[in-house]
């Protein structure tokens, strides 16, 4: 093979780890002149597509979509899991969910987590990433440590924090130790505090991902832009605001998408730390589904709640992609020069 990978860096739009030409490969393949051989070429192309994507589609359909479809099917029955599926109830389960104040409360809690995760994690992660976007000793070690909570399983993280947040546990002792003893609360037992506690723990777990993402995005902002701007007399803050942050835009927006979906599907940590309590004060749609549906042998109802959760996530995802990410895929901001 004559070409070598290093030739990639020569071209203008040529960063292998960087820019994606917006949604379409740069330069459409040239159309072949209509010839008798074209049909064979087309068929061969279809064969290639089938060969490459086929296994993935097959495995995915069989092990993901079929079970999901079946689970959605259960949602129109009342079913205790043991008897055969005979009790068809139509949309009753859905009506029941939407008229249950506990479910609506769970929906509200999910909305709280969606919004507050963004509000809390975004500025903190950005600030940390900006201020730490410097050559410093131990940067690699730092990046690794910051990412550790993300690597831990949610269950383990939940169990750990459960221990730490007990009355007179590590959290209380630390606060007292730094003289902030007045802030001590019943972190998991107080209904007005528990949501904030869970939010804090979730942020602890996922902020490392945000920091790493933003740090990596910042690496790609060219030094020359900063130098040019400060030669022109801009202060550090102005440089960040006018140049760095806008260029970080696509990074931030993708992270926000992942955060929103994650907040909607939240289950493991809440289940382990509070079980949805006390008195349903920290329920999410997923804990509600498991508790009311599966743990109470009401599989039809649980499946209906799962479908509602799916639809909510889908609406959020579609809405987000259409109105927020569209700017990126149309190349509005991806297209600035970037050289390594």
């Amino acid at each position: 093979m004559s070409r070598e990978p290093v030739a990639v860096t020569a071209g203008p739009a040529a960063d292998p780890a960087g820019r994606a030409p917006a949604g379409r490969p740069a330069g459409a393949p040239s159309r072949p002149v209509v010839r008798p051989g074209r049909r064979r070429a087309d068929r061969r192309r279809l064969l290639e597509i089938a060969l490459f994507a086929g296994p993935a589609v097959l495995v995915y359909v069989l092990f993901v979509l079929v079970p999901i479809g079946l689970a959605a099917y259960y949602s129109v029955f009342r079913w205790n899991g043991l008897e055969p599926l005979t009790d068809f109830v139509g949309l009753d389960n859905y009506v029941r969910a939407f008229t249950d104040p506990v479910f609506l409360g769970a929906l509200g809690h999910n909305a709280f987590f969606v919004v507050m995760s963004l509000v809390v994690q975004l500025p903190v992660a950005l600030a940390v990433a900006l201020l730490l976007n410097r050559k410093m000793r131990g940067r690699t070690a730092f990046r690794t440590i910051v990412f550790i909570p993300y690597v831990l399983s949610e269950v383990i993280a939940g169990v750990t924090w459960l221990l730490i947040l007990q009355p007179d546990g590590l959290m209380d002792r630390v606060l007292e130790g730094v003289g902030l003893g007045g802030l001590v609360q019943l972190w998991l037992a107080d209904r007005t505090v528990v949501l904030w506690t869970v939010l804090a723990v979730i942020s602890w777990k996922y902020i490392g991902l945000a920091i790493i993402l933003f740090l990596a995005g910042l690496q790609g902002v060219p030094e020359e832009l900063h130098e040019a701007a400060s030669i022109d007399g801009a202060s550090w803050w102005q440089v960040q605001r006018r140049i760095t942050l806008p260029l970080l835009g696509p990074t931030i927006r993708i992270w926000m998408f992942l955060s929103i979906i994650g907040s909607l599907q939240l289950f493991d940590m809440v289940w382990v730390m509070t079980g949805g309590g006390p008195a349903n004060a920290s329920n999410t749609m997923a804990t509600y589904m498991i508790d009311r549906g599966f743990r109470r042998s009401q599989f039809g109802y649980g499946s209906a709640v799962a479908v509602i959760l799916f639809v909510v996530s889908l609406v959020a995802a579609v809405f987000y992609q259409r109105f927020v990410l569209r700017r990126d895929t149309e190349g509005a901001l991806t297209g600035k020069g970037h050289r390594r």
Binding site: F52, N80, L82, L162, G169, L186, P278, A279, S297
Partner: protein, 432 residues
């Protein structure tokens, strides 16, 4: 082109690896006879730790030795997951284990209604003679679908030293006396009662006991059969519980304390001298022992008294609330499964069970192996009780039980009334 073959080869490799791993695998749930006349029994139990893990393995080995041609495949699964996830999934798939953990009550009734459990009435007549009334929780409409191996009752575990310190000379026998004791403990600066309300059921047990003391035995029995709770005694139970809650007898932050999960649980608090009393089942001393440095828990300092009588309640003061464990055979299991079940319920195995301290044996003749004085008190109370009611969330099945536990937890959090509890149960009953 070489690459095409290579791409295909990669896909084939992944696929064949998958198939090979699939081929070299064990089976699913049920065993049954294989072609050469050998019988395999799959056995799922919840004894993930010692001493039960070793005990059940010994039992399996001995059974295999006595029955050539029979293999017993034992699988120990964590209790909650076994009951709520693994067994239901296996049953729904039509792939149940042969011998499996059975907690009785409404859950068993549902399994029987779906035809998943073997009716063993005719084969265990001898064993039933020895087990007596304790087997009631494992029977549905007079037929037997499983055998218990442990049945305990609930009461207040307390620290004798703390009682002495507060000037309480005898354990309370009525609610008024209990309220007095709570007050005296508070005056002495001690935490009267500890409860693991985060887990839901420890709080719910208070309501169960009040219901048992407020409702006549017949009403309780009937409720476990037809799942209607119209009798006003059920609301009374909630009212009495509310009165009790109003005396603020619990530790700070009780809504966030777990019952047994490790160091900061209610059992841990009692074991380490941070509270005076806990309403809990027969397993508490064992749990507490594991949570102290010396492994002894409160040791000789530990005492037990039954749930006090309630003034004006229609319930029998000698009735006990309890629960236990047993095993059932699935409807598809081979006949050797019943033999294994009978062996587990035999006097010999029950004696070893009692010695291990893992629970209270049910087969007569085995209780001589119980040595701990507190356990003996419990055992006597259970055997002499006019009526032993299974935990209500087990007796009523997990649809009603889950709703009940949640409603009581709401009351503990100041969010529900006595009527709400009964309403929640009635609504859930309609959903069964």
């Amino acid at each position: 082109m070489g690459t095409m073959r290579r791409a295909g080869a990669l896909v084939a490799l992944v696929a064949s690896t998958a198939l090979v791993t699939a081929a070299c695998s064990g089976g699913g749930g049920g065993g049954g006879p294989s072609g050469d006349g050998n019988v395999t029994i799959t056995w799922w139990h919840n004894g993930t730790g010692e001493p039960l893990l070793g005990l059940w393995q010994d039992v399996a080995d001995e059974f295999e030795a006595d029955h050539p041609g029979v293999t017993v495949e034992v699988s120990a699964v964590q209790n909650e997951e076994l009951q709520k996830t693994k067994i239901p999934a296996a049953m729904q798939a039509g792939n149940p284990p042969d011998l499996f953990q059975q907690w009785g009550g409404g859950e068993l009734a549902d399994q029987v209604a779906a035809g998943k459990v073997m009716d063993i009435t005719d084969q265990v007549a001898d064993e039933l003679d020895l087990i007596g009334g304790s087997a009631a929780g494992w029977q549905v409409e007079g037929r037997t679908y499983g055998l218990p191996f442990s049945l305990g009752v609930e009461g207040f575990w307390y620290s004798k030293a703390m009682f002495a310190q507060a000037g309480i000379t005898t354990p309370p026998t009525t609610m008024d006396e209990l309220n007095d004791a709570v007050q005296k403990l508070k005056d002495a600066g001690l935490v009267p009662i500890v409860v693991g309300a985060k887990d839901g059921w420890p709080a719910a047990h208070y309501w169960y006991n009040f219901a048992l003391r407020s409702c006549s035995t017949d009403t309780m029995k009937q409720a476990g059969v037809d799942f209607t709770f119209d009798d006003p005694c059920f609301v009374e139970a909630g009212d009495r519980l509310q009165e009790f809650l109003d005396t603020s007898p619990f530790q700070e932050g009780f809504l966030g304390t777990s019952a047994q999960q490790g160091a900061t649980s209610s059992a841990g608090l009692l074991a380490n001298g941070k509270a005076a009393m806990e309403l809990m089942g027969h397993w508490n001393p064992g749990v507490m022992g594991g949570l102290t440095e010396d492994g002894q828990g409160l040791g000789d300092d530990l005492g037990w008294f039954p749930f006090p009588a309630v003034d004006g309640g229609a319930g029998d003061p000698d009735a006990a609330l309890g629960g236990g464990d047993g095993f059932s055979c699935s409807a598809q299991a081979p006949p050797e499964c019943v033999e294994l079940l009978k062996y587990i319920a035999s006097v010999d195995v029950q004696k070893r069970f009692a010695e291990s301290g893992a629970g209270l044996p049910v087969t007569q003749g085995a209780e001589t192996s119980v040595t701990d004085p507190n356990m003996k008190t419990l055992l006597d109370f259970r055997n002499n009780a006019a009526y032993v009611q299974l935990w209500l969330d087990v007796a009523y099945g997990n649809t009603i039980g889950g709703a009940l536990n949640e409603a009581v937890a709401n009351m503990f959090a100041g969010q529900g009334t006595a009527q709400d509890i009964v309403d929640a149960m009635t609504t859930a009953a309609a959903d069964r």
